[in-house]
Symmetry: C2
Subunit: 403 residues, 2 copies
């Protein structure tokens, strides 16, 4: 049986960045950028005033001239004017405007008394060339990388792409996914329920989680029937990039999923991981088709299996770097820890003195879905750390939710 | 001039939870739940087997019987069978199945040798009543709150709602928002650009950020013209819930936004905050209409103003609790800090020994949009903390991105 680390390594080795597509900027938010975006011009593209005030020449300043004739106004969005009297003149200038030709810097309005046609500089004013000027190309030179490929186009990165004039960008294509719930005990929403039946909560949760990663995800259900499973898997394994199966992967008499997948041509990479919950995890790949995760059906096992193995696979497949490990400290320790990698749902409880503290949420095991309502994620506790585990020792944390 | 704390308080005081709507579960992912969801039945709804194995009676176990006649199979999704010979019989049982009538617990298959019609229990087997049984109602009793209103329906919370059979839920209505860029220097994507002109990156970024909060956001542009601004604001202020204006809020000759908003009936609540960047922030509300943020136009000021003031307003308006403050430690300190609340872009740099460490990113001021490409958010440094600021002292962190 693989350790959690070996299993994760096997999953990542099976992931390669998927295909790309060109998307217009109006539809690019949240997508994964797959090309380096270069600055189309210097940023800023001109010597830019960073304050409202007056622009003038060092000639006047160094000659001690403090009463300057206002030759005109330099607003933002207008071509650069040219100072005709460097020794005696100035322009009123607005934030964002081009520094006029013949001017060396800007003095902020707070230091200037404006008369009809004259700007009187305060005796106390301090100034030097380039003051209040955001120099052309000082942020980024034309042709240099503004945004490196392999990042999510969050709002601020989208703004950066827009600043370079990109009307469309190369991004990862949405992955095609199928979520399959198994189990005769499942009855969909809206249908009447017998006391021994339950709702397909895993499938709905997985579809929502996949959509957070931009996947096109369909939801299917099959009963505990080898024939029906083989048919569904055979029909879809070459139509989608990813199949997530919930349930039917353990050793019960009706756990047909591994056999049905293999009969549909999916090659097993591993089955079972030394972890709790989620030990029966099955992972495989079709030579010309989908990557398949057989997630244990207990609801907490399903969601942790998704976050722990499917998310890293998704990041690689979307062309994102692996996520940094987030570390937290436990305010309280688990009562009992099996000699397996253990996952424990937690709620963030930060304060200034314990900036990365979390509380364990009351949790009765992998069937206890309701325990996750107030959780922000879970911690990972490997058997090696258990002997020395204290509330002072940081442990890895995985948050629920998107990229 | 208000402090950052006073300004935030004024913004929050102006926010009230907005209207709700009923949405089917297929469309509810990511929405804000606005009702308490109760358990429709006990969870689990029956005494549920947590392992594959055999179910039998304490009578047989306590009498020392270790060879039991298999009376049948109890699969998941089938009605409970009844044990006819409590002293000598058992059922094979599958994970997720109902505990059959007359049985007190389950012994896992690993402890059982299965013959044709007999289950031989290992001499070393340990068992007691309720073993491997997830008791009816032990997670949640029928009628108790499963999911409290005022939370985002993340995938795991969606799964919890599904488990209670909710076919539709009461969620926050999408807020109607308008993003207005101002400035004669702005030229939209696809149009030719003069050297003194730039792209409307703020407006695109703000629209994307608002959509992360489920808002319906339209994008408009007005030139630096009082009349045009007054017209646009008057026409839309009663049509939307939120207006974000970028630029035109400072003291320049062409900064008409505050005047145009007030002439359109928007009552000013405050203008200017003792912070850097983003000092010229304007905030107001129309008595029968929109809440309006006038965000300074320097791109870093715009995005920080959004994250610092608009996001808390959005959370209140969507019916979410205020976010917990996240704390981080700085690996390096800012070179200079003005006597104002300072915001500095940072990149997360956690490791096991510095679990909440961040690095400052190279940053030249509020015009330096490109600096945000590699940032995960920014830290907040209030003037009071500056004298004692060290790399050991946690400071507040705000991440970019969604709820």
């Amino acid at each position: 049986m693989l350790t959690h680390t070996e299993a994760l390594h096997a999953v990542l080795s099976a992931a390669i960045p998927g295909p790309v597509e060109t998307r217009s900027m109006d539809l690019a938010a949240g997508a994964v950028l797959r090309e380096d975006l270069l600055a189309d011009r210097d940023q800023p593209p001109f010597d830019r005033a960073t304050m409202d005030g007056i622009a003038f020449s060092r000639t006047a300043w160094e000659a001690g001239v403090r009463r300057l004739t206002i030759e005109g106004i330099q607003p933002a969005g207008a071509p650069a004017l040219r100072l005709s009297e460097p020794a005696a003149g100035c322009f009123r200038i607005m934030t964002g405007a081009v520094l006029p030709a013949g001017c060396d810097g800007v003095l902020e309005s707070e230091q200037v008394l404006f008369e009809e046609t004259v700007a009187q500089i305060a005796d106390t004013a301090v100034w030097q060339p380039h003051r209040n000027v955001h120099g052309q190309g000082s942020d980024k030179k034309a042709g240099h990388v503004l945004l490196a490929g392999g990042c999510v186009l969050t709002p601020q990165r989208l703004a950066i792409a827009i600043s370079a004039g990109a009307a469309s960008v190369c991004v990862s294509q949405p992955l095609r996914a199928m979520v399959v719930s198994t189990g005769n005990e499942l009855v969909d929403l809206g249908e009447a329920l017998a006391p021994y039946q339950i709702r397909p909560s895993n499938a709905y949760g997985l579809v929502a989680a996949l959509r957070d990663y931009g996947c096109r995800a369909a939801r299917k259900h099959v009963p505990d029937d080898l024939e029906a499973m083989r048919e569904l898997f055979s029909a879809s394994v070459t139509e989608v990039d990813l199949i997530l199966v919930s349930g039917g992967v353990s050793k019960g008499l009706y756990d047909f999923v591994p056999r049905a997948l293999e009969e549909a041509g999916v090659e097993k990479i591993f089955h079972r991981v030394a972890q709790k919950p989620g030990k029966p995890l099955w992972f495989g790949q079709h030579p010309q088709g989908a990557t398949v995760f057989g997630l244990p059906g207990n609801p907490v096992s399903t969601l942790i299996g998704f976050r722990e193995y499917v998310v890293p696979w998704l990041r690689r497949s979307l062309g994102l770097p692996d996520a940094l490990t987030e570390w937290v400290t436990l305010n309280d320790l688990p009562a009992s820890v099996a000699p397996l990698t253990g996952y424990f749902p937690v709620r963030k409880a930060p304060d200034m003195n314990h900036p990365c503290a979390v509380d364990l949420v009351a949790y009765q095991g992998s069937g206890h879905l309701a325990a996750l309502a107030e959780s922000d994620g879970y911690v990972v506790i490997d058997p090696e750390v258990v002997p020395n585990l204290t509330t002072a020792i940081p442990v890895p944390f995985r948050g629920w939710g998107a990229i």
